[in-house]
């Protein structure tokens, strides 16, 4: 459902971030993209959600050829995806409920549906009691759970997470990882970028390893192996 074919990305004409990357992710998979800081993980994700265009190569997502999408097409395309970032990226002027509901509102879903789904998903991430709190009133772990609720509320086919635990302590890290595993079990494809060795070794999923912009290893049930 997701495929990278010989994708390269050069920033500003001289900074090579990705070189000739090829891989494919099947529906229902849980795949990790692993690599040291600067290896190119975020670049893979930015290319996948159309935030940047590849210098060479082709990127497919379902029936979309992402590298060919125009600015105008991006909003519709992105409603098939849920994205989670290291820095949460919640809307600061909206409370938890409104942040989650926003993902449904942009898709023009009816009010009734929004009023049903939003509390349901907030309950699933364990934040029913923080429904009307604003991001600045939440801890890091709570913010990330709101972000996950927002990423999943519109039932996307794929959830993409870029170092979602990078700003969290170990306890909250596992909370988030367990949530992602739970969402995966409910049938959503997950793409998780991380450089956290413990997470990779514990979850025993597919591992795609990047190093200096090159894909150096791609294993089912992989381990974190880096020099």
């Amino acid at each position: 459902m997701i495929s990278f074919q010989n994708v390269s990305k050069v920033y500003n004409g001289n900074s090579v971030a990705l070189e000739d990357i090829t891989f494919e992710i099947r529906p229902g998979e849980f795949a990790c993209i692993v690599g040291k800081s600067g290896a190119g993980k975020s670049t893979v994700i930015r290319l996948l959600i159309g935030e940047a265009k590849p210098t060479r190569g082709r990127i497919h997502f379902g029936q979309y050829e992402v590298n060919k999408l125009k600015d105008y097409d991006l909003p519709l395309f992105r409603r098939h995806i849920g994205v989670i970032f290291q820095d949460f990226r919640l809307l600061p002027n909206k409370n938890s409920y409104e942040n989650v509901a926003f993902a449904l509102e942009v898709a023009g879903r009816p009010q009734k549906e929004i009023e049903d789904l939003t509390p349901q998903v907030l309950d699933m991430v364990g934040l029913s009691d923080k429904t009307f709190n604003f991001p600045h009133e939440l801890s890091g772990g709570e913010k990330q759970r709101v972000a996950i609720a927002r990423a999943m509320v519109h039932r996307p086919e794929v959830i993409i997470a870029d170092e979602p635990t990078g700003n969290l302590d170990p306890f909250h890290t596992w909370e988030i990882i367990n949530l992602l595993k739970k969402i995966h079990q409910l049938g959503t494809t997950i793409l998780l970028a991380t450089h956290d060795k413990e997470i990779i070794n514990a979850i025993e999923k597919r591992v795609i390893t990047l190093d200096h912009g090159r894909l150096i290893r791609d294993e089912e049930k992989g381990k974190y192996i880096l020099v």
Binding site: I49, G50, E51, A52, D71, Y72, L74, P75, L76, F77, R78, R79, I81, V83, R89, L90, L91, P92, N93, F102, A103, E105, V106, A107, G108, P110, Q111, R150, H154
Partner: protein, 307 residues
């Protein structure tokens, strides 16, 4: 469609409230810009009125020799009225002039007495001419100096007045031009300041805009609430600017010293003009405010709608 619009309005108003100080400062700056604009409108209209009333006082008088027959004077009046430069010509016979003179000096016994001792009317018949524009007096004066008219005309007041008339003309033209220039400059400055304030407000929301895009919000969905907030700020600023100017004008005309300096500046008509046109002015302010607010937001958001 209805859901979308009601969501936009709902969020526009809610965000405006939650942006707090940012919204307040935007409204304040826009209010100042609109105060400048309302001030300029008033200044322009009222100085035009003043200038027009000064212009109205400029004229040329032609004094006829005592032997000039009245029908000759009337034919000169006719020919003057046919000149395109001439607005009005008024005839004052020597008898009428005397009546007016007597009336003006009825409390002065020496003059009344002196007049009584004269057995002939010393005052001349005259034509009082007003031009359409101050700069046209020179050509009217030239027409009057033609030799065929000389037989009857004793004197044309332009010769003595023309320095004053020319100065006044130059001053009026200068005032009009300076007023126009000032208006354009100030309106541009006010518009730019308001525009930049809205842009700054949106700049501080650029990350939010990025987040909305990543979540799959379309351009219009992102833009809508911002444009609405701009328009809303414009509406509030329009209301505030009209209220503030009303209060300032009332204070200005209530204090004798201020009222005096306003009259020196030729702004006496302000009070009357403002309060009889308050709804029209409010309409203009609404138009400026919502246009500047909405348009600035529209332009400013566009920068952050890539990717």
């Amino acid at each position: 469609m209805f859901t979308v619009i009601s969501r936009l309005v709902h969020y526009g108003l809610k965000d405006f409230w939650r942006h707090g100080w940012l919204s307040v400062t935007t409204v304040i700056i826009m209010t100042l810009a609109l105060l400048v604009s309302i001030g300029l409108i008033i200044f322009n209209v009222v100085t035009k009125q003043t200038v027009a009333s000064i212009q109205d006082k400029i004229d040329i008088s032609v004094y006829f020799k005592n032997n000039a027959p009245e029908d000759e004077i009337f034919s000169i009046k006719k020919s003057l009225e046919n000149l395109s430069e001439v607005k009005t010509v008024q005839y004052l016979s020597s008898d009428e002039a005397l009546e007016i003179f007597k009336e003006n000096h009825k409390n002065d016994p020496t003059i009344t007495q002196a007049l009584g001792e004269l057995n002939e009317n010393p005052l001349q018949a005259s034509l009082n001419i007003k031009a359409n524009h101050p700069e046209q007096y020179a050509s009217i004066a030239q027409y009057l100096s033609s030799p065929n008219l000389n037989t009857f005309i004793d004197e044309v007041s332009y010769q003595e007045n023309h320095v004053v008339i020319e100065r006044l003309t130059a001053m009026i033209n200068g005032l009009n031009q300076a007023g126009l220039f000032l208006t354009i400059v100030m309106a541009l400055v006010a518009g730019l300041v308001a525009f930049n304030t809205v842009r700054l407000a949106i700049y501080s929301n650029r990350e939010e805009i990025g987040v909305m895009r990543v979540v799959g919000a379309s351009n219009s969905f992102v833009r809508g609430p911002f444009v609405l907030q701009g328009i809303f700020a414009g509406v509030l600023a329009a209301i505030a600017s009209v209220l503030i100017s009303a209060i300032l004008i009332m204070i200005g005309f209530a204090l004798p010293s201020l009222k005096f300096s306003l009259s020196l500046l030729g702004l006496t008509g302000t009070y009357q003009f403002f309060f009889s046109n308050i709804f029209v002015l409010f309409g203009y302010q609404m138009l400026f405010g919502t246009l500047i607010g909405g348009f600035s937001s529209f332009i400013a958001v566009r920068r952050y709608l890539k990717n």
